[in-house]
């Protein structure tokens, strides 16, 4: 099982699901209407490291974070 957490302004409770890679998570979130506005502009981190490809493998206990557009300062 992996946990998905939604950061900042994404008003959504964490999800826990089975996933072997980020491809599986992309598939689930594509069908989630709450996520429609975020899918195209979120960065993705696995265990707090940003990743650049859906081929990133996942293992049991991993944490996936979705980071929407930022504006610090």
């Amino acid at each position: 099982m992996v946990t998905i957490e939604f950061l900042g302004p994404i008003q959504k409770a964490p999800l826990t699901l089975d996933a072997a890679s980020l491809h599986d998570i992309a598939e689930v979130l594509k069908h989630d209407s709450e996520m429609a506005q975020w899918i195209e502009n979120c960065a993705v981190a696995v265990n707090d490291t940003l990743v650049s490809t859906l081929d990133t493998p996942l293992k049991d206990g991993d944490k996936v974070s979705l980071l929407p557009p930022v504006c610090g300062g």
């Binding site: 594509k30 981190a45 859906l54 980071l67 557009p69 504006c71 610090g72």
Partner: protein, 150 residues
């Protein structure tokens, strides 16, 4: 290695910028440049509010610190969480460097990358609501892979 400070609410700017100056006074730096960001009164806001995701902010900051140390320089940073009212300050980034050129170039690059990359989300405080500042926000480099971008 980190000298990253997070505070609830507005920053105490005099305390922070004078303490940092004192902390580094014996390390033979020739240039110290703090950048202080203050909440502007505009569009009728009462203030801004911030969410900070500390684990990724820390690793982003540490990567910058490592790059900066190679140049003989050092970074410090402070940021607010939660509400900061107009004319209060929410952000300080600072560089210490032996020489001015490295200091001037580093503060500019650091502040610009901060705006583009630091995992911090900004909200307008307006009429009692807390509204995500979507129009001023920037997608992090590499964003969109879940939608098929790579």
């Amino acid at each position: 290695m980190s000298t990253l400070e997070l505070y609830e609410g507005a920053l105490n700017v005099p305390e922070i910028i004078t303490r940092w100056y004192a902390e580094e006074s014996q390390y033979n730096y020739g240039a110290y440049i703090p950048f202080i960001g203050t909440v502007r009164e505009e569009d009728g806001i009462e203030g801004l509010s911030f969410d900070v995701y500390e684990p990724i902010l820390s690793s982003w900051f540490d990567a910058w610190q490592t790059k900066t140390e190679v140049l003989g320089a050092k970074l410090k940073m402070a940021h607010s969480r939660g509400d900061v009212l107009v004319h209060e300050s929410s952000y300080i980034a600072a560089v210490f460097s032996p020489k001015r050129r490295v200091a001037l170039e580093t503060i500019e690059k650091f502040v610009e990358d901060f705006k583009a990359s630091a995992p911090i989300w900004k909200y307008d405080l307006k009429n009692g609501a807390r509204l995500y500042a979507a129009d001023r926000s920037t997608a992090i480099a590499g964003a969109g892979i879940l939608g098929g971008k790579r």
